[in-house]
């Protein structure tokens, strides 16, 4: 990285806990009077502080699209605020070799009493655009916002959708060398979101540097090539999105989320009848928790049958980011598996087809159980996790659509469409 556009060195931000650092005259006066007394030996009572960021360093090259990811409270918004110059760091520094604009919110400074037209200029100026710049792009902004008819109406009369569209239209026409975007894209209706995401992607591919802050790995995987994972205020991982996703998925335990081997730990979960020995995800790239949405992958589990009293069946429970169970699968549907197995070590493998899972993070409960009578020998919650991403090459269900794509699963089902005949013009016949 010979020519970084952002250089962050040892950034730290300390917050004083409690009354948001606000104090009163009385405290200041009493503090001032008490100060000489304190010098007479007594220790100054230390205020409780909290480091929201600690020793954060990174370089970002010109034209890179970098995702900043982390759980709530990891320091993402603090970093964002420092980069946007909203608050100063407590120590360290950032060097920016280009002008920066940040979108922590769309419509910052919008005034409800003013017309859409006035607000475009106001918001543009607040975001750092010159009047001439806004005027030059005015028509484009208006067209993008789809609120032409209401330009001279005070924005307080706008629907929330119109408001957001207008606000985003201004933001989308910012032309900084560095664009910092918070998760503001979760606004507006679906078709408008698509437009915004498309606009963002064109910004990134247009040689501009984009920093995208989110706790949603799917969105980051789609938009960025590199990710920085923040955890407890420090950089926990920095590198290609897939690798960082692996660390993010691994959580705080540090264990590889794609493979767990209980034999190495010396203690296998289970009952007197069966024990779970290991479980692993086998994708295209060994050891990577990132799964290309189009490719199939396998989940494998090793287990030990200790008695031949019950039929013991391995099963897997898949949960998405919202914690909803997407599906459960097991081998008990086969006649031969409904009988007790002879004691020994077994390996079961199942294959999840490509174009079936939706994008996002999934965690897997790994269990071995008996269905008749109902016995759970081992049930390890969230033992494995992986990240399904769509590289957006157009041959997934997504096609070239870049917007939000809901659904717990995204199966590519067989479709047929055939031409039935000539155009039937219903409108004309209706008028007649």
């Amino acid at each position: 990285m010979s020519n970084p556009i952002i250089e962050a060195r040892g950034l730290g931000k300390e917050y004083v806990l409690g009354a948001s650092g606000r104090s009163t005259f009385r405290e200041a006066i009493i503090g001032g009077l008490a100060a000489p007394l304190k010098m007479l030996g007594r220790k100054r009572p230390s205020r409780e502080t909290f480091w929201a960021l600690k020793d954060v360093s990174f370089d970002i090259a010109r034209g890179e699209a970098v995702g900043i990811i982390g759980r709530n409270g990891a320091g993402k918004s603090t970093l964002l605020k420092i980069l946007s110059r909203i608050t100063a760091p407590t120590n360290g520094e950032v060097r920016l070799h280009g002008n920066i604009a940040s979108l922590l919110e769309v419509g910052t400074g919008f005034h409800p009493e003013l017309s859409g037209r006035d607000n475009i200029f106001l918001n543009g100026a607040i975001m750092g655009m010159s009047r001439a710049e806004v005027r030059r792009q005015f028509d484009e902004i208006v067209a993008f916002s789809e609120v032409e008819k209401f330009l001279d109406t005070p924005v307080k009369r706008y629907s929330s959708g119109m408001y957001v569209r207008l606000a985003f239209a201004v933001a989308a026409h910012l032309q900084p060398e560095i664009l910092v975007v918070d998760e503001v894209l979760a606004v507006g209706d679906a078709s408008f979101q698509r437009k915004c995401l498309g606009k963002m992607q064109s910004v990134a591919s247009g040689g501009r540097t984009v920093l995208f802050v989110s706790h949603n790995m799917a969105a980051i995987t789609r938009l960025c090539t590199r990710a920085i994972l923040l955890s407890h205020g420090s950089v926990a991982a920095d590198g290609p999105v897939a690798k960082v996703a692996a660390v993010y998925a691994g959580g705080t335990t540090g264990e590889s989320p794609t493979e767990v081997d209980f034999r190495k730990r010396g203690k296998a979960p289970g009952s007197e009848h069966a024990k779970l020995l290991a479980a692993r995800i086998i994708g295209d790239q060994p050891g990577s928790p990132s799964i290309d949405i189009r490719r199939s992958f396998s989940v494998q589990m090793d287990f030990e049958v200790l008695t031949d009293k019950y039929a013991v069946n391995p099963n897997l429970h898949f949960f998405n980011e919202e914690g909803a169970c997407v599906f459960i699968t097991g081998d008990g549907y086969l006649r031969e598996n409904q009988r007790p197995r002879s004691p020994g070590v077994y390996r079961s493998t199942t294959t999840i087809p490509g174009n079936f899972m939706s994008e996002g993070m999934f965690s897997v409960d790994v269990a071995i159980s008996t269905s008749d009578p109902v016995l759970v020998h081992a049930h390890e919650r969230g033992l494995l996790s992986f990240n399904v991403y769509d590289p957006g090459e157009g041959d997934s269900l997504r096609g070239h659509y870049a917007g939000p794509f809901p659904g717990a699963v995204r199966p590519m089902l067989p479709w047929t469409t055939e031409r039935l005949g000539a155009v039937v013009n219903l409108r004309e016949s209706g008028e007649a």
Binding site: N3, P4, R85, T87, A88, P89, H97, E105, I126
Partner: protein
């Protein structure tokens, strides 16, 4: 990364508290925003109120009527220039209003702009300054009424009236100087918000707004030098009514305002870095 691009601007974000060229460069880059923010405030204020612009006139006009009845008719205070007391008083209130409104608007301005301060960067100093600009606009509207009043009361116009504008600028400067301090301190000590209106109210008595400085015994008059607004109000009226303008005292007033303002700017810059954390 040395001389590859000499035109490149490097922006350094660090926990500095020292004033640097970057601050001035920033303020200059964002100069358009000052007008846009001021324009927003003016528009919104007059758009929201059904009486609109009339509010800018109603306040000094009522004050003038009350003062005329109380101090002129009842207490027998006279104007020192050869003008009716009502005109004398209204002239004082016009320039005083510029200061008082500017100061109170600007001291509240940062708190009122929390949504901006926590969401986007621009030199924060524009916020209190924009509040001053709106007070200037109000004073401009009041001045139109003042001129009308002078015509109505047959007060002669003098060439010295041209000095009224730079003198009013000193009033705006005083308001800006204190406003920088108060807006920043208001975030730290919310007491400011309660103390300041009281302070402004007291100051109107310590300033020859509804009385003439010549009413005061000579030995007390020295103390008025410490109050830059005394010189401003005196000077403003002198410029309007053609009496000798106290240039020396105005110079002192402007100097005091400049020093207070410069210190205020430095302090403001220091506090600015944590505004978002305190708001």
């Amino acid at each position: 990364m040395t001389a590859s691009n000499t035109h490149e601007r490097v922006l350094v974000i660090r926990p500095t508290t020292a004033l640097s060229w970057q601050d001035f460069r920033d303020a200059w880059d964002y100069r358009e925003l000052l007008w846009i923010l001021a324009l927003r405030d003016v528009r919104v204020r007059y758009k929201q109120a059904s009486l609109g612009v009339a509010w800018a006139l109603l306040q000094p006009l009522t004050q003038m009527l009350v003062f005329t009845v109380l101090f002129n008719k009842l207490a027998g205070i006279k104007a020192d220039a050869a003008v009716p007391y009502s005109v004398f008083c209204f002239a004082g209130l016009t320039v005083w209003g510029l200061f008082a409104n500017g100061l109170s608007h600007s001291s509240e301005s940062l708190i009122g702009s929390a949504n901006l301060v926590t969401k986007v960067y621009f030199p924060r100093v524009l916020i209190p300054l924009a509040a001053i600009v709106t007070a200037v606009v109000d004073a401009g509207i009041t001045s139109v009424l003042l001129v009308a009043l002078m015509i109505w009361k047959h007060v002669p116009f003098h060439a010295s009236i041209v000095f009224a504008i730079p003198i009013a600028a000193v009033a705006a400067l005083c308001a800006a100087a204190l406003g920088l301090w108060m807006s920043a301190l208001n975030l730290r000590y919310r007491d400011v918000r309660y103390a300041l209106p009281f302070f402004i109210q007291m100051l109107v008595y310590a300033t020859p707004v509804f009385y003439s400085a010549s009413l005061l015994p000579e030995r007390y008059r020295v103390w008025l030098t410490l109050n830059p607004m005394a010189a401003v109000v005196d000077g403003f009226r002198a410029a309007l009514f053609g009496t000798p303008i106290p240039f020396a005292r105005l110079g002192v007033a402007a100097a005091i305002a400049l020093v207070v303002g410069a210190l205020g700017f430095v302090r403001f810059r220091q506090l600015e870095q944590t505004f978002a954390d305190r708001i």
